[in-house]
């Protein structure tokens, strides 16, 4: 049997940072030494339409797309996008909904994507150094502190 691949689907509306979050996870897994593939469709998504992005990592990843019903995690940034995307989750897969992190506690509403990554990180086996390096590489320097704070907040939200 091939080694298991970790499958994470990100979903949200255009402009909310779902794709950015998926980029950060893909980069963190890459930094941790895994084979990684990421697939997304971002055609008209700028105009507030639905977006999803698949990240898969493990010893060897073949297809870049997560087969329906095989996601280990589903990270959703927009409440209205939960139900359409739920069929992506496998039985026993974990949903990380937008209210997984209390909005009021966020340093900034726009950092919800990174906060939810924190909540995801608490359940994955990737070292913090890789996450933080990926966050820094993906965002301009003036946003580093704020997003690192959001990441820690998200991570701390998981008991």
């Amino acid at each position: 049997m091939p080694a298991p691949v970790v499958n994470v689907v990100f979903a949200g509306l255009g402009g909310q940072g779902a794709i950015k979050a998926s980029d950060i996870l893909a980069d963190a897994a890459f930094r941790a030494g895994f084979d990684v593939k990421k697939a997304e469709v971002h055609g008209m998504s700028q105009r507030g339409g639905s977006v999803t992005s698949d990240v898969r990592y493990g010893a060897e990843v073949l297809s870049p797309m997560i087969p329906r019903g095989q996601a280990d995690f589903l990270v959703v940034l927009e409440p209205s996008e939960i139900e359409v995307n739920r069929p992506n989750l496998k039985a026993g897969g974990v949903l990380i909904p937008p209210d997984a992190v209390a909005e009021a506690a966020l340093p900034n509403r726009r950092s919800l994507n990174v906060a939810l990554l924190g909540a995801l990180a608490a359940r994955l086996d990737l070292a913090d150094e890789h996450w933080l390096a990926a966050i820094r590489a993906a965002l301009p320097e003036r946003l580093h502190e704020l997003n690192e704070k959001a990441f820690r907040l998200g991570k701390g939200s998981v008991p």
């Binding site: 509306l13 990843v61 797309m65 329906r68």
Partner: protein, 537 residues
């Protein structure tokens, strides 16, 4: 060597840099747009052309001059560039020319799902297709080698998943190709019939040699597996196939044209059952069957949309039954503060018949406006609007308006404007150019009307209103529909009532691009001032 996580588009840009490409040109189009942007960011010389035909011609000229040129476009762009493409197969090139055609099976952001591989067959061009970012990198290098060796343009087919998917890429040491130089070759480059006839024969000879090359090429990967099932797969579908049928024998095809027919024959003969898995049209399957190679193609339902692991599994088990519909999320919409809102509100109020075009503004077709009656191809709004004006009863003809974006106007609307003044309808006509100062749809690229090049540096600005006046259009106006919606409505009603030709330039920047545009303008003004000061001093 350096390993990085790159999208297919970024991998192509990196390969272009490492192949020593002298010039990259193209026209934006999802999913190909990011290639030239990334090439520019890496320090390559990249520029946007007004449309794909011009881009290809610029690339061809560079390659005639001995340079390596990369030309990028989406699949429908190849239709625009098709005229020079076919004859460029006859002339061939001296340096290297690779044309990226990015297909969009499933139409994530396109008006059709045509299969660019057909162009390779029709024009007689070598065609390669990668399945992920590493292959996009490796095969682009191979494409330049092929182009140089056979002196032919190479068509490089990509698809949305490969362009926008990310995977790990290891780069190779860069090469420095020969420096551009002019070498006169009149019979090879001037396609009058006397020279074109032998050129066609030469092309067919090259393709024969290329077909032998494909048969021996290590680019096509033969993976041993069970003798019960063999899969021939192309592009990203090869990745799906390995996951869907890990035990099957697999032939991953990268040389799509000419096909390695003898290798395909041997592969098919080595298994009990052989299935071809490809996105788009059943091109490889048909070619195999025509050559007497015993393969099965995919079922008809799989001609539509993208493939994935589940769909490949169905192809392999010959399951053509109904599929679970894809989840439909929220469709994209015009941004809340988009400058197009007052335009559509007015068109609706005045009950116009709108011959539309392609861009962000096409979203005006959705409720609440339902403000577009036709949308076919870039630039078509003019011709279609004129055709309607010519034949409709007068009362309806006078309601017809052509509606086009600024980038689309420069792309191919210009030709339609010439038609408008040459064959004006009896009722006149009204063209509205939605000038939002950018190519918004594809992610805010510059175009000749913005007065800035791909890298946002200043260049000569094409004046849309100046052009319309120069062509002799009697009524040319520029309005800001957001600042003065009542003025816009009054103007449009007046122009619709005249039996004359009118062009209305509706000018207001895209709300998402406005801040960046101001930034570029400031920067360019500052460097112009510095430049002037330097000249004075």
């Amino acid at each position: 060597m350096e390993r990085r996580l790159l999208s297919g588009d970024e991998a192509v840009a990196a390969a272009a840099l490492d192949a020593g490409v002298h010039l990259g040109t193209g026209y934006p189009g999802t999913p190909s747009t990011e290639i030239l942007e990334a090439f520019d960011a890496l320090g390559g010389r990249a520029q946007w052309a007004p449309n794909e035909k011009v881009a290809l011609e610029v690339g061809l000229g560079a390659a005639f001059g001995g340079a390596r040129a990369l030309v990028t476009m989406k699949h429908v762009g190849v239709n625009v560039a098709a005229d020079p493409l076919f004859t460029a197969a006859y002339t061939g090139v001296s340096g290297g020319l690779v044309v990226v055609a990015a297909d969009d099976p499933g139409m994530a952001s396109s008006q059709n799902e045509q299969d660019s591989r057909r162009y390779a067959v029709a024009a007689g061009l070598p065609c390669l297709e990668p399945s992920d970012s590493q292959e996009a990198y490796d095969l682009l290098l191979a494409a330049f080698e092929l182009s140089g060796r056979w002196q032919l343009p190479v068509l490089f087919r990509m698809t949305t998943r490969v362009c926008h998917g990310k995977s790990i890429v290891t780069r190779r040491a860069p090469v420095t190709p020969a420096a551009p130089a002019f070498r006169r070759d009149i019979p090879g480059r001037v396609m009058i019939p006397a020279y074109a006839r032998p050129a066609h024969v030469r092309l067919r000879q090259k393709l024969k040699a290329l077909s032998a090359f494909a048969d021996g090429s290590p680019l096509n990967v033969w993976r041993e597996g069970s003798a019960a099932l063999g899969v021939i797969a192309t592009g990203v579908a090869a990745r799906h196939a390995r996951e869907a049928a890990p035990h099957a024998a697999l032939l991953e095809l990268k040389t799509i044209h000419p096909l390695p027919l003898e290798k395909l024959r041997a592969f098919a003969a080595s298994v009990d059952r052989c299935v071809v898995v490809e996105e788009g049209d059943p091109i490889v399957a048909e070619a195999c069957l025509a050559a007497g190679i015993r393969v099965e193609g995919k079922g008809e339902p799989f001609r539509f949309g993208e493939l994935d692991v589940e769909r490949v599994r169905r192809i392999l088990t010959r399951d053509d039954g109904p599929e679970a519909p894809l989840p439909r999320g929220k469709p994209p919409q015009l941004c809340e503060a988009c400058p197009y809102h007052p335009v559509y509100a007015t068109l609706r109020k005045l009950d116009c018949i709108v011959a539309g075009d392609i861009g962000c503004y096409t979203l005006g077709v959705l409720p609440p406006y339902q403000g577009m009656d036709t949308c076919v191809a870039m630039g078509a709004s003019l011709g279609v609007g004129l055709g309607l004006r010519h034949v409709l009863p007068e009362a309806d003809a006078r309601r017809v308006v052509s509606l086009i974006g600024d980038s689309t106007f420069v792309h191919t609307g210009l030709n339609g404007l010439v038609e408008m003044i040459y064959n004006p309808p009896a009722t006149g006509h009204v063209l509205i150019v939605l000038d939002n100062g950018t190519t918004a749809m594809t992610g805010q690229q510059e175009h000749p009307g913005t007065g800035r090049r791909l890298d946002h540096q200043a260049t000569t600005r094409l004046s849309i209103e100046g052009l319309a006046r120069a062509l002799g259009v009697p009524n040319v106006d520029v309005v800001d529909p957001v600042a003065d919606p009542a003025g816009f409505e009054a103007l449009l009603s007046d122009r619709l009532a005249r039996r004359q030709l009118s062009v209305i330039v509706s000018r207001r920047p895209c709300i998402l691009a406005a801040a960046d545009i101001r930034g570029y303008e400031r920067q360019n003004a500052a460097s112009a001032a510095a430049c002037a000061a330097c000249k004075e001093g």
